[in-house]
């Protein structure tokens, strides 16, 4: 059976988890607890030299990068996965790919940064986040959300037309990351709010909640990390990001 190495605190892990479950692809969930430093174990290093999640292992074939994993699962199970996830239509498919490419250095990067600043900066750096740093990060995130609304959604129900696709899935899990720290990004954004509800419905409300259960409890993350010896390993990486 296909193995998925996941920690649902991670956005790309959630998109992979949600997709597999939503379309009924069987898999074995292998937990890699990031806050406990499991990604630094010798065992996990053999699975993925880059020590990141998600990772997919299908027999002897190991694959990283959520976008690649999603497309692989989709292609492998193409006879049972509905077309709308990654349409065969040339232009629609191109629009999905356009979003999947753009999001790396935009919504994903900025959403992650705001999440890390709000959830982890104090415990890693031992002080509160400087206001201008936080304001700048939130401003960048808002710009990406504006682009999502103005260019990718426009007046459509989903990013690519009438039905949910990989683009919406990848978008929603990234937005939920800073939202989980208590930042209401949907306030004052009715278009984004109705899109979110459509996406949740298309995935399944219960499944969506299940995938987001751990991240919504992110308030307890600092304590978990403070008690763990691997914090020292994580500090230099975060310090670089926060400087």
């Amino acid at each position: 059976m296909m193995e998925l190495y996941l920690d649902l605190h991670s956005q790309p892990c959630r998109s992979v988890f949600l997709f597999a479950k939503a379309v009924g692809i069987p898999f074995e969930f292998k937990l890699v607890e990031l806050s406990a430093g499991h990604q630094y174990s010798e065992e996990f290093g053999k699975i993925n030299i880059m020590r990141k999640v998600p990772v997919m292992k299908d027999g002897s074939f190991v694959l990283t990068e959520s976008v690649a994993i999603l497309k692989y699962m989709l292609q492998k199970h193409s006879s049972s996965v509905a077309d709308h996830w990654y349409p065969a239509d040339l232009q629609q498919r191109a629009c999905v790919n356009e979003y999947l490419s753009w999001q790396h250095m935009n919504l994903r990067a900025q959403g992650s940064k705001v999440f890390l600043l709000r959830a982890l900066f104090p415990v890693i750096m031992g002080s509160e986040v400087p206001k201008e740093k936080m304001d700048a990060a939130v401003q960048d995130l808002n710009q990406s959300l504006q682009m999502l609304e103005d260019k990718f959604l426009q007046n459509k129900p989903f990013i690519v037309g009438d039905k949910i696709s990989l683009a919406d899935l990848v978008a929603i899990v990234e937005i939920m990351q800073p939202v989980a720290t208590g930042l209401d990004l949907f306030e004052g954004r009715p278009k984004l709010t109705t899109w979110r509800e459509r996406v949740k419905k298309a995935i399944g409300e219960k499944l969506f909640a299940e995938a987001h259960e751990v991240i919504m409890k992110v308030g307890s993350l600092p304590q978990k990390m403070e008690n763990n010896s691997n914090l020292e390993l994580l500090k230099p990486k975060f310090q670089k990001l926060f400087s």
Binding site: I49, M50, F61, L63, T64, E65, S66, V67, A68, K71, Y72, Q75, K76, L90, Q91, R93, A94, C95, N97, E98, L100, S101, W102, H104, M105, A109, A136, M147, D150, K151, K240
Partner: protein, 251 residues
């Protein structure tokens, strides 16, 4: 670069490009190599042409490359490359039908955004453009840190994505190698010796250049490879409008 004959003009895609930009180069190389009818529309980033009203109608994201095919507009080089490959039915090796080979390419195209692309761009800006065009001094530790990050990405390119294969997905060049090579060339154009002491990477570069065609490769890289000379005579007011944004992003 222009020169589309009138018979093909009707079916030619419009490519909005500035060859200083890495993803513009991968798109142009792909179009030329596969004889895809295209018309190049120059968008000079140094002159801020991406902010023109007419370009905004092609791409709200206001970045290059951008493609226009009839009424259909598309941004993001991986999306453009995949679109062109499908529409013009290019040879299988560029994006194979084989599940695992295709996955290897998708994996690379995803990883590279926040790795080689980001780190190579950063070195290009910190080493050349910021000091020479914006006349802002770059602290040594920042430069050293940027080169160290790039080295980390190059190491992963060699050890994880290439390993002992001739190309990223196996025996033949694919979109992954094309996207990789244009990014690796960016810090080279800024004067960093990327290939020195890296025989595996150099051998891969030679294979990629041979597969593309050295003449085509050099032609498309001519503009960026002239960067070190060009900045000496460049008008100091260039990029002033983007200065704050550039410094915020790279410094």
């Amino acid at each position: 670069m222009q020169g589309v004959c009138s018979a093909a003009a009707a079916m030619a895609v419009e490519l909005y490009l500035d060859l200083l930009s890495q993803p513009c180069r991968s798109v142009l190389i792909f179009a030329k190599k596969n004889n895809i009818p295209h018309e190049v529309k120059q968008v000079s980033l140094m002159d801020g042409e991406q902010h023109r009203e007419d370009f905004g109608k092609v791409s709200l994201i206001r970045k290059v490359p951008a493609l226009q095919d009839g009424d259909f507009c598309l941004a993001e080089s991986p999306a453009i490359l995949l679109y062109l490959a499908r529409k013009f039915k290019t040879p299988d090796h560029w994006y194979p039908a084989d599940l695992q080979q295709c996955a290897r390419i998708d994996e690379y195209l995803s990883w590279q955004h926040c790795a080689i692309r980001l780190h190579g761009s950063k070195v290009f800006w910190l080493k050349l453009m910021i000091p020479e065009v914006l006349h802002v001094e770059v602290p040594k530790e920042k430069m050293d840190a940027a080169v160290e990050e790039l080295n980390g990405s190059l190491k992963l390119l060699e050890e994880k994505f290439l390993q002992d294969r001739p190309f990223i997905a196996g025996d033949h060049i694919s979109l992954a190698d094309l996207v990789a090579i244009v990014e690796v060339m960016q810090p080279v154009a800024a004067g960093l010796d990327v290939f020195g002491g890296r025989p595996k990477l150099s051998a891969w570069r030679d294979r990629v250049q041979a597969a593309i065609g050295k003449e085509l490769f050099d032609e498309v890289h001519q503009t960026v490879m002239g960067s070190q000379e060009r900045v000496k005579v460049m008008d100091g007011s260039k990029l002033e409008f983007s200065k704050a944004k550039i410094l915020k992003f790279f410094m």
